[in-house]
């Protein structure tokens, strides 16, 4: 069965939703989301240490989307905004769950899987070393952080990155990434 975006969105926003969004991921939108979430977390009396972690993870997740979303969704038969992405933040027991979703060209799956599996296989200290290595050796690309984002998310959250790829068409898959903070 092929991927159904509406079902996906509905399924992922059933819980105690702090914020759910689907549409264009622009710089202004990132501002608005950060501001809204900061306010909500303060109102929810989340402790400041946790608030900061969530904020950091959110910044990196949103900017990953911003920099890496494919601008054209050729052959995707939906009235999608350019730079379409999904962001859902849920409160789930002792965790906050940050979920992002976006269409990726299926050719990118192997690269992303390997990268995330590698990150998930590392201990806290190894992650720190990887972060420092990339920071010190890789050039910043016009697209952004030069591969630091996911490593930073894993470090700050202290949890494994949960991901899934749903086949959408011959060319595209939908990439879901969930981070528990």
């Amino acid at each position: 069965m092929s991927f159904n975006l509406s079902e996906y969105y509905a399924n992922h926003s059933k819980g105690d939703v702090v914020l759910a969004y689907k549409g264009s991921i622009t710089s202004e939108l990132i501002n608005d989301i950060l501001e809204a979430v900061e306010k909500k977390l303060k109102e929810a009396n989340a402790e400041s240490r946790l608030r900061k972690k969530i904020y950091n993870v959110l910044v990196e997740s949103l900017q990953n989307l911003f920099h890496h979303i494919e601008p054209v969704h050729e052959g995707i038969n939906l009235d999608l905004d350019p730079k379409f992405g999904v962001l859902i933040i849920e409160h789930d027991g002792e965790y906050y769950k940050v979920t992002t979703g976006n269409f990726v060209n299926s050719r990118r799956i192997k690269f992303l899987k390997e990268k995330i599996d590698k990150i998930n296989s590392l201990t806290k200290d190894e992650l720190k070393d990887m972060y420092k290595f990339i920071l010190n050796h890789q050039k910043l690309s016009a697209k952004g952080g030069g591969g630091l984002g996911l490593v930073d998310i894993a470090r700050k959250s202290g949890n494994k990155l949960e991901y899934e790829f749903y086949v959408y068409s011959d060319t595209y898959s939908f990439f879901n990434l969930t981070i528990r903070v």
Binding site: R49, N56, Q63, F66, H67, K132, L135, L140, G145, D152
Partner: protein, 126 residues
């Protein structure tokens, strides 16, 4: 030389150099999507400053948040300071972090282990 003075915004920190105190201060949030563009004036300014620096340069980094894209630019800034330090000028980086913010402390320690400039970790207590 002209002192540098950049106001903060919702995604970028203020950057100020006080020539009387020889103190460079970066303060606020640094989470722009395009950090290279934001930090370019500072990196350029440091290029000029490093040609004839003060005997002592104090650098106060007081960031509430910074994204990974900024982290590379901050390293570039520190590498410029490292060059000044290597040329036998005094340089001290004061890295401020809030008392409950281990992540920010750890970030400072990461930098301390990469660049050869004296660091001082300064805890901010409410």
């Amino acid at each position: 030389m002209e002192p540098i003075n950049i106001e903060s915004s919702s995604k970028t920190p203020s950057i100020k150099f006080d020539p009387e105190k020889s103190t460079l201060e970066i303060k606020g949030r640094s989470i722009p999507e395009n950090s290279i563009e934001f930090y370019k004036p500072l990196v350029d300014w440091l290029d000029i400053y490093s040609k004839d620096p003060h005997h002592k340069t104090q650098v106060n980094i007081q960031l509430e948040y910074f994204n990974t894209s900024s982290s590379k630019c901050i390293l570039d800034v520190f590498k410029k300071l490292e060059a000044i330090h290597k040329a036998k000028y005094d340089v001290l980086i004061n890295w401020f972090y809030e008392e409950d913010d281990e992540d920010m402390l750890e970030a400072g320690e990461d930098y301390e282990s990469i660049v050869r400039v004296p660091f001082k970790m300064v805890e901010i207590v409410d």
